[in-house]
Amino acid sequence: MTLQKDPERTETKYLHRLADFAGRRVLEVGCGDGRITWQYARGARSVAGIDLDANDLRLATIDRPSDLESTVTFGRADSVHLPFAGQNFDIAVLAWSF
């Protein structure tokens, strides 16, 4: 089956139109398999992606480019109990997750 999601990359354009990710510390809540993460991660200072789905997190980790291993991390966590200290991020992304 050939499924393509947003081949026009409109989502990426709008994401960057609304936020400047360069040098920022980003928290992505409900990162899933990282489909959104890869649209902005390059250039960010750090990215922490969280999700409850262990299989999606496994896929995200497999897909992580080697040059982003030190800046992009994924972890299993609930959005109502974030495992981070306060005031730790510049941008939070809540994409397709409500």
């Binding site: 089956m1 050939t2 499924l3 393509q4 999601k5 947003d6 081949p7 026009e8 409109t10 989502e11 709008y14 994401l15 139109r17 609304l18 936020a19 510390r25 928290l27 809540v29 959104i36 959005s79 109502v80 109990h81 974030l82 981070f84 200290a85 306060g86 005031q87 730790n88 991020f89 510049d90 941008i91 939070a92 992304v93 809540l94 994409a95 397709w96 997750s97 409500f98």
Partner: protein, 139 residues
Amino acid sequence: MVDALSEIRRALAPGGCLIDLRPLGGSWPVEVASALEIKEAGRAAELPAGVADDQAADQAMKHAAGRQWFRLERQEFFPFYYYWDSPGEMQEYIDREWEDFLRVEESAWRNIRATWAVADADARVRIRLNMMIARWRKI
């Protein structure tokens, strides 16, 4: 959802922002698209579970704004397309992945298949989601 927004606010530095990106519910056009033309062939309707999710998300953001956790700075809308090579592949995907959220009536499927059958050789089937993206500033 409100609890999650409270947690996100706690995790954000002063002046930080929240990007809220999600599809908006309702009725989404199904189109047959080739390099030469695009034809609307039917519509997919969101089921009550999807509608409820949309309403809950809107309510949660409204609540967060009311509590002065976040201030809406900018909001935009754009189309997001899912493409399949054929109506059969699309139907299979919807039945498997979206059965709780989306319904395409049989009459619409018939029209989608008929439109695709006589379309150009490169024609694919696509569904157009209406997306919303918003930037909320932490207060």
